[in-house]
Every structure is written in C-alpha cells, then in structure tokens.
Symmetry: C2
Subunit: 555 residues, 2 copies
C-alpha cells in the first residue's frame, strides 16, 4: 500500500456561500503537491464588517505552503470564485488556469491590482487537460448563470475527482454550452472517487428550470409596459442580459446597457466568443432621444447596491436618464439574503416616482443558476461517485447535502473550511484541521477579521466615542481641568445640563482628590478616568460609550 | 355648508411598516379636536441606526397641539401600535382607551416608564362607544395575529370612518373573535365615508389562510420528530403559541414556554380572559427531567434576536436546557425583511449541533396575520366606503392599495406620514403637510434621527476614528510633538511603518512650519491638522478616517 494520499481542504466556501477556495493535494503526508481551485471574495455588511471593502479567505496556511502549490484553477468568472486572484497572486505565485472568458475576467482582476496578466493561462474545455504536479485537470463544460462555467475533472494516481463548480442542469441555457449528460456520463464511466459538489440550492425541492423559459415571459411583460421599461439582473449573467435584450428587441424597443460592470462583462463575452449575437445597443446619449415607449434600459444593481445604476436611477438620474410616472422597473433577479433592505429601499424610491415595480414574486422572470435538490440527485446518478463532498454552502446546506448523499447510499462528510479530508480510501476520512478565517481588505490594507479593528468600529457605532484628555505638569499635578470631546453621543443628558460639562466636572473633581500613586501612573489614571466617564455617561444618557483617555505629561 | 372639517393625518406607519400613529380631527380648520389612533415603535438596525434602542414617530406637531387632543385609542397590542405609549404619554396627556388584553399590555408599557397605569381605560367591544370631543369611537372585533385586535368605528358629524387596524379575515382564528362579516356589514350599512385600511399584504395574491389550518400540520411534524422539538413564533401570537402547545400535547409532549416576553403575553391573555384554555406547561427546571422525546419547548426569538431564547439555545444553553443532535427546531413564523442574517445565523448554529431545522418554506407551518389582496377586496365589498385611505405600509404598498381601490371604483389617496387629508367631501383632498420624521431612543435620551449623532457613529464605523492632540505654550508655540490615538484603524500602513508614527511625524512637521496666523487660531489648526491627517491616512491605508483634533493651550 502506497503512503501517498489524496487530500481535500476547503479554505473558503464551505460553511458560507462566498469566497471559494479549495485545495487538493496528492503525495506523501504533509508533502502533498497542491492545487487550488478558485480564489474568490465575499462582501462586507454593516452588521459584521462595517467599512470593509472586500472579504477574503484567510490563506495563511496556503501561503506557508506555497512551495508545494503547483497551480490555481478557476472554474468560472463570478466574484466569489475569481475576485481575490489579483489580491493574492503575489503571495502564491502559481500559474492560473481558466477557460477563455473566465481568463479574460481574471486578467482584469490581475491588472486592477498591478499584477502580471500573463500568468493567467487560457485553456480549452475537456478533453484538453493541464498537468500540475501529480494532477491532471480538465475543464468539463456545465451550465450556470455565467458563460463558460466548468466542472473540473481532477485526476491523480489515487483516482478521479469531479469538482462540480457552480452549476445547474440546463440543456437550453441561451448562452454557453448546454449541460451534456452523455459527456458527463462518459467522463465518469470508469469510476469516480469523489464528487465535490455545489450545495447552494439543496433546499429547493422542485427541479431547476431552464434559462430558456424566462424570455417569453419577459417579452409579454415588456409588451404590456406603456412607457419606458428598465430591467436589472446580475451583470455577470450574460445569458439573462441577452434574454432581456432580445425580449426587448422583439417587443420593438431600443436597448441601452447601463453600469460599468455590465458593459465590461458583455464586452468580455463578445471578445472571447462566448456571445456571438447580441441585439444592437444604443448609448445613453442616444437613448435620451428615443421615445420612452420604445426604450428599454438594462442596468446593474439587482441587489440594491447604493452606487449601481438602479440605485442611482431610483435616486433621480443616471447618465442623463430618469424614470417617470408610468414607467416600469423589473427585477429579473433574486434578492440574496441580507440584501433585502437595499432592494426594498429602491422599490420604494421608484414607487415615489410612480414607477411600477415588477419582481420575481411569481417566479416568471428569473431562474436560479444553481442545481436544485432533484438536480443534485440526478448528477449523482450520472457521476456515480464513491463519495460526495458537499461544498459551496452554509453549514445547513452542507449538512442537508451530506444527508441526502447518505440516503442515496453514498459516503459523505461534512467538511467546513479548514477540515482536511483524506479521499484515498473508500470513504472520506477527516485527517486534520487547519486554521482558517477571514481576511478583510480595509481601504488598502489587509487586516484579520479578529484583529479587533472592526470590533472597535462596531463598538463606536453602538456606543459612541468619548475622548478624555488631561495634562499633568512636571510635579504630576493636573494642569487645568480634564477636557472631553465626543462623537456620536447626545449633547444633553438627563439632568438637562450639557453632557460634556457634567463629565468634565466629575473628572476634574476626581483629579483633584487623586493620590500621587494614581497621578504618577498613566495606566491608573486612564483606568480611573474611563471608569468615571462611563458611569457618568450611564447616569446621564443611559449608555456607556467607548472611552479613549489621553494623558499628556509636561515632564 | 359648515366650515368644520374631518381630517386624517398619519404621523407614523404610512410609508413604512412600523411605528403607527394616526391622527383624526374634526372642527373648524386648524382648531379641529383631535384623537390619536395607535402609538407604536419600530426597531433599529445596524445600517441606519446603530446603537439606537427604539424608534418612535416624531410627534412634535402633536405635542404642539396637545391642548386639542381628546384621547388615544389603541387598536391592538403589537409593539408597532402600543410600544411608545409609555414614552410619550407625559407629553400628550390624553386618556388611553383599549380593550382588556391590549389595555393590560399598555399598562405594562406605562409602568415600565414610570407612568400612571390608571390613565389606560379598558373599554368593551362594539356596540359600546367612547366619546372623545366631537368623536365617538367603537372597537369592532377583527381577527389578527394577536388577540382582541379591533377595527375602529369613528363617528363624527362629518360621517363614519372605519379604521381597519391590522387585520385578516379569519373565521376560525383559534384564539379570539372570528371575523364576523354580518356584524361588519351591519355597522357599515348606513354608509361609510372612508375606510382607512392595512396595506401590508397587498402584494399577496392568494386569499389568506386561517390559523386553524396550521395545527394539524404542526402535529404531524411533531409526531415525526424522534427527539426533542423546539418551536419559535412571535411571543404576541397567542393563537400560534396555543396552536403549538396543543399540537405538542396531542403528540404526547410536555410543554415548556421559554422567554420572558412569551410568558408575559400568555399570562396577560389568561388574566384578561382572552385565553380560556391552554395546555399544562412545565418549568424549565422540570423540563430537564423529562425524556427528550417527550418534550417540546416553545420559545421566543423567531426573528433571530440575539438575546432571545432561540438565539441562546443556538449558542449553547438556555435555562439549563440544550439542543442536541437529532433534535428539531421549527420556525413557525415568517422572517421580516431585514432580519434574514440573524435568522440564518441561528439556523447554521443549530445545524452545527446536528439539529434539524424546519421553516415555513413549504407554507405549512405559518399563516400571515394580515389581509391579502383578495381579502382587501372583500373588505371593501363589505364596508362599501366612499373612499379608501391605505395605511400600514411602505410607499409601494400604499401605492398598490390605492391603485387597487381606484380600479374598484373607489376614491383613494396616497397619504404618507405628514400628509393631512380632508375627508369631508366626496373625495379625499390633501389639505396640508406637517413635518414628521423619526425620534430615536438612544439609551435614556430621545434624539432626532437627523441630529447628526447617529450619522457620526455610522461614519466612525465605516472610517475609523483618529484623535490628534496638540499642546501650545503661552507664546502659541507647539509644546512637544503632535500626539495621535486611533480606534478602528490598522496599526501598519503601506510603508510598513506604524501608522501613528507616520502621522505624528507629518503633523509635527506641519506644526514646525506653521505661521503665527495659523497657530493663534484653533479653527485653522484644527482644519489643517485634519486635512493632513486624512491625506496621510489615505496614502498609508487607503482610507480617510473621522478626525477629532484637540488643541490645548497653556495660556
């Protein structure tokens, strides 16, 4: 029996939906040669990560083992799969492989961060394979909500792994390759060790619907719109953008695309050949001259993002165009949990303008890009893997997917980020744990999620911030009174006196009676002043703020 | 023609779902005698109101006109209708009328704020009426998700107004009075001037389902649970708590209620007679001795609230009880938009424990307490009002409800908070605008939403906070160097030097070359130091923090 082993180690994406990063390794224990599948981001929110620009997986382990890393493979061009490439390539240093459209987006990501674009290599679909140490990796086309998505066929001496990537089983996907069950069955016919599989829609019990079902419904809707219509979807959903544009064209509308991300995406799709036909589009300048009843805008911002085209239209004007009473706005999209407030804000702003809002409440104007539960079952039946490793999901998704697999007689394991799984034997075996977490991009700096920096910001947001300054002379005696400044706190307290005055009085009184032992120790003064300030605030305003004490000594 | 008029003026609840407060007036223009219907709160969120404890409507206008206020009527006991009574009664000073159960809750609210409980008067249902100046007001029973909800029959010389309150058309509501179409038709048979009507579910196109449909499904679910089951719903949904408890009892389970709000609510319901039978409940202490497969917990926290029983169970232990592998947790509730993250957090925590989560995705375990679109139509057909004034909704709900009313041949108006509507004529007529907004309870202090206090807190959360102190001697010369402290900012910048050192160097350099004109002016020093500090931060960390400059002078 060989002492070499095949390992799987998620560093991001297993235990959350977002920031995907999965390591595979083959070789002697702790000397496995490694490949990384996907390198994505996730997005911040005000509740847990205010002010943070992007969230990355913590790649400390991988960076410490970069000498073992052979290559990075990107399954498709969504931000949660490719978004971190430019931010980490320098520390990882391995070649990046992707299909043409994805590679074009990855090169944008590299260029945006001043990284060399040429390390991103374009590869063709299966049966072409790329050698990476002991691995040979092929890109198996599959349908999803972005063109050229691919599952990976990962071969090594321990056997074949199918890494599904994000997928749905769409045989009429509008753009890109249809799911080809014969091809998949053929690739898997000699036995598959493990299927590492997307879990996003494991709770959706009906089979997924094809992208092709959306167009006719949207066309009907456009024909019913008396004035201008604007529609939003994910910029990267090239098929949907095309569906919307073609439905608009059939309904006699001129089409105008708005939002940088959407134009960039369509351009990349045309340049790389994944989009061979697209209705003629007009510029926003030209759109202004088109009668409203003949115009259709397709815009970014389906998740209510404040800076996107939809939010700007909702606030008034974008590229010189405005929505008006009698216009219609279509969300051809689903609201990702957590984004509801932003989306509802836009809906109400449009309502104030007299714009009619249509969303996907009735299920006619959007279909998901992920495989539903019956589709997951069907894929297992096609791939017939020895074991199923659920990924791309929160804990509850992974758990349900593992359970589903067990019920169908397949070995499975619930492996969240940091769980190293040995796939060599007949069953998956947890063989180690690696520390993982989140790294925040905060302005230009990468900080750890647990560094305390963001925690301090959250505390200031909840409690306000009080600053106390005291100056001590050469003899350690207070020079003048304590001085307070505050941010995010009310001016008047319960006693109806200015809060700052009450604070300064209490603190100055304390200084007047403080012992030499206290006054000679910065730590003691700080501690005492903080305690008094918090208590006074609690009495006056019913809140204990964050307190920063600054002691200046003249000595 | 009389110069007296009947006006309607929403101060909260029209343009949002929450903090309901509706004024009606009758009399000569600007001398109308007033009544207030409902006095509720809404809840803060991290995005718009971090650290805020409760949100109230801005009642400045009403307080300025308190001499005209005859009475306050509370339709039902939900927080968004009664939650602000204790906070504003002192400034309004009018008697508060409610039915027995609601009055019991209102008295709790008064007592919680040290206000006199006896100003809350218990009234009986229609045909009893309460005189309040030119008004006579009766409580017309209607079904909702809390017992004893009532529509109001508001009579004055200008005619009869029906204020629906929150309602659904449930003829088998489990607890409380069924909706009685004959009674409503009888009350309305001599003509109704205006129906002021709940708009919450105007986008739900199927008729609402009865509370009675939920019990059998829940019983089946409980029978399928191999181990302990815990279920959560709104504490105030007494009917659902009863439905859950009875289903549990029928399935052979001992019932334990957990969470202060839920116990308080059930006690009030029993004491006021709205709940005449309820399964025997056991204490958490006794529950620990019951075999898990015979136990059912009913707990607070259906919206993921961090301090509620469900969240505490999800984190580990509550009242000595823990959830374990194989247990089941049921959300017999709907997630209010904006609360998704909190609910999902709990779901994943339970998943980590191996607890099976059941929610209302299939629609079997929850029904809404609000009238759906067909129910709104049915109510219009029963009440046959001259006009319909939509309330209790965001702008988009009010707009859709007004449109629906117009389509059915009834006059309507979209009146958001602050819009004064004259109901005297045949059609509603906007006759004025009053300044409205939100008042925050922040700790113990009421602050205005636009005071800038919360805005500063949000800015600190997004940008961090830098404090710069300088000391100037008697000659306005800098004494020592500039001193910086920071909160919520990274320690190292792009140059890999400590950010504070780089800042102090830049700021001290500036002080060294500053002109006398600058050094003698606190404003100028502040302005310059802030500018330099923000630029240095931008260079070093790609972020411009909030900056507080403290200038101390020895003079």
């Amino acid at each position: 029996m060989s002492s070499e082993r095949l390992i799987y180690l998620p560093l991001g994406g297993a235990g959350e939906i977002g920031m995907n990063a999965y390591v595979y390794g083959y070789g002697p224990e702790n000397e496995e040669r490694l490949i990384l599948v996907d390198l994505g981001v996730t997005f911040s929110d005000m509740e847990t990560s205010p002010g943070v620009d992007l969230i990355f997986p913590d790649l400390t382990w991988l960076m410490a083992n970069k000498h073992r890393l052979e290559a990075i493979f990107i399954t498709h061009g969504h931000e949660d799969h490719v978004g971190a490439v430019g931010h980490f390539w320098e520390q990882l240093g391995a070649p990046v492989y992707a299909r043409a459209f994805t590679a074009a987006l990855a090169r944008h990501k590299m260029a945006d961060r001043g990284q060399p674009e040429e390390v991103v290599k374009t590869v063709s679909a299966w049966p072409e394979v790329t050698k990476a140490g002991p691995f040979s990796v092929g890109f198996l086309p599959v349908s999803h909500s972005i063109p050229e998505s691919a599952g990976l066929v990962i071969d090594c001496p321990a056997g074949r792994v199918i890494h599904s990537g994000d997928f749905k089983l769409d045989e009429t996907p509008v753009v890109g390759e249809p799911f080809d069950p014969e091809l998949w069955a053929d690739v898997c016919k000699d036995g598959v060790k493990a299927l590492v599989c997307d879990s996003t829609n494991v709770f959706s019990t009906a089979p997924g619907r094809s992208e092709a079902t959306v167009g006719p419904e949207i066309e009907k809707l456009i024909l019913s719109a008396p004035q201008m219509i604007a529609a939003t979807t994910f910029a990267s959903n090239v098929a949907r953008v095309k569906t919307l544009a073609e439905a608009g064209e059939r309904a006699g509308r001129s089409i105008c695309l708005m939002g940088r991300a959407m134009r960039r995406m369509i351009e990349a799709a045309i340049q790389t050949g994944v989009l061979d036909s697209f209705p003629k589009v007009i510029s926003p300048e030209d759109a202004r001259a088109v009668p409203r009843e003949n115009l259709m805008l397709i815009v970014t911002g389906s998740q209510g993002e404040r800076r996107a085209a939809s939010a700007q239209l909702a606030r008034g004007k974008y590229n010189g165009l405005t929505m008006k009473e009698g216009d219609m706005f279509l969300f051809s999209s689903k609201t990702i949990p957590g984004n509801e407030r932003g989306v509802i804000r836009i809906m109400n702003q449009f309502s104030e303008m007299g714009v009619d809002i249509v969303d996907d409440a009735n299920g006619h104007f959007h279909v998901s890009g992920h495989a539903n539960r019956p589709d997951l079952e069907r894929l297992q039946d096609i791939v017939k893997p020895q074991m199923v490793i659920p990924n791309h999901g929160e804990h509850r998704h992974l758990r349900a997917h593992a359970k589903l697999s067990n019920e169908r007689g397949r070995a499975s394991v619930l492996a969240v980020n940091g769980t190293m799984v040995d796939l060599t034997g007949d069953e998956p075996r947890v063989c180690g744990f690696v520390e993982t977490g989140r790294t925040y991009l905060d302005g230009a700096i990468k900080i750890g999620a647990l560094d305390g920096i963001v925690r301090d910001r959250i505390r200031m947001a909840l409690n306000g911030h009080l600053i106390v300054t005291v100056i001590l002379d050469e003899d350690d005696e207070p020079l003048g009174e304590a001085w307070c400044e505050m941010k995010g706190l009310p001016e008047l307290g319960r006693s109806n006196a200015p809060l700052l005055e009450v604070l300064e009085e209490d603190l100055t009184q304390f200084l007047g009676r403080a012992s030499e032992k206290t006054l000679t120790s910065d730590d003691k003064i700080e501690q005492e002043l903080r305690r008094i300030a918090r208590n006074t605030c609690n009495d006056e305003i019913g809140k204990k703020p964050e307190v920063t004490v600054i002691v200046s000594r003249m000595s």
